[in-house]
Amino acid sequence: MLAVSPLRNTKDENLGETESYSIGASDFPDFSDGNLLDSIDFDDLFVGEMLPDLEMDPEILAEFSVSGGEESANTKKEEEDKVSGSGSGSGSGSGFNSSSSRGEEIVSKRDESVVNPRPPKQSDHHKGRKSSTQSKNSQGKRKVKVDWTPELHRRFVQAVEQLGVDKAVPSRILELMGIDCLTRHNIASHLQKYRSHRKHLLAREAEAASWSQRRQIYGTASGGGGGGGGGGKREMSPWLAPTMGFPPITPMHHFRPLHVWGHPSMDQSLMPMWPKHLAHSPPPLPPPPTTWVPAPPPLPPDPSYWHPHHQRVPNALTPGTPCFPQPLPTTRFASPPVPGIPPHTLYKVDPGIGVPPGQSGPHPMLDFHPTKESVDAAIGDVLSKPWLPLPLGLKPPSTDSVMGELQRQGVPKVPPSCA
């Protein structure tokens, strides 16, 4: 019996055009147009787990990496192990969570490769695990394995974007692509993966953007002395407010380290790689981006915009924890007193460190306090972009108590008319 578990939430939004339903054990969608088999395939697609015992081509496996690299790598490994072992059944368990969207292709693999009936799988117990595809085999439906070459994928993406990602319907995509050997299924499953991947990308972008934002805030502190290393990055990162709708993510390209799904506008060298590079580190990708996740490097002087990450990580933005940049307790003399060297501590270093002898005044060279300009710039930013997320995320005060207090202080109206 084809037992299909309720759709995962990751796939929920992918189901726009495809059947989105939870099918009970015996509850088949009844497509009177005779595509019953097709729909059954879809059921499995949406169950979306890995079939541990499939013999799969590594590259197809590689395509399915939707989430983080390590995950995919591990999961793929698991799959391959299982495939080669072809032994036990359900094993894979939680490992396949991340690869939810692989299900469909795996199903197709299964169809053509493994035929041994797996007793436990046949059961209705599925809870999202693979079991169901067993019956696929017995149905005798063969799905031709589609090789999503970069070119093919590019056309796919083009078609999708033409239609609009959310509105893209596999049949239309198929039409737009005009490739005979693709079935609606292939498209649909690929679409599902694509959407899931985009979601991941967006989520990462949001994260990275908030770090960049932090970086910018810190960067402006050193912007005056630091040659605008931080300030220069302003144009790069979009001000994404995680809680609100994303503004268009134009500088997406800068977030290169996020594995790209062969988006046509992306670096061509990444195209053949899409998720693969996370498993093996491919040459095109510069090492630092792939390493910032596991081990934050020591603060390099180069204005990498990944700075804020390893400053943030150890500080663990939790309420009550001040998020200061790493160098706070350490020296503010980031470098020997050579004029013009921007310290990578995020405090502004007065260029006066190399002050000509003529200058007087025992004014402190390294000012603990940021320059007026950087403060002004940051304040101006907040004023002009109120939708930005709070840099520290402190618990906001209760409006009433603030208002009450203000009244007591003699400020009846807020905002005051002079503001």
Binding site: P356, I379, L392, E405, L406, C418
Partner: protein
Amino acid sequence: MGDSSASYIHLVHHLIETCLTFHMTKEECMEALSKHANIDPVITSTVWNELEKENKEFFETYAQSQRQSKADLMSEEETSRLIQKIISDSSKDSDD
């Protein structure tokens, strides 16, 4: 209108947080916001106080690090002067 007050307070909150990332003191914050954003220092002060009430731990730690850095600042001044002296000395030497 409660709305505009709430959003205004949120704005001030936002600005204060920004100042906090610059490790400014409350007084500096009041001055900066008044100067750059035309916000009445009283309002800044009030919102700051309220924020402090809501986020006691944060502000305690914040105050600690402020003290630390103030202490460092003193020695930094010393060091700055020293370096300044060295530089001026060396240029004096080169003049010879």
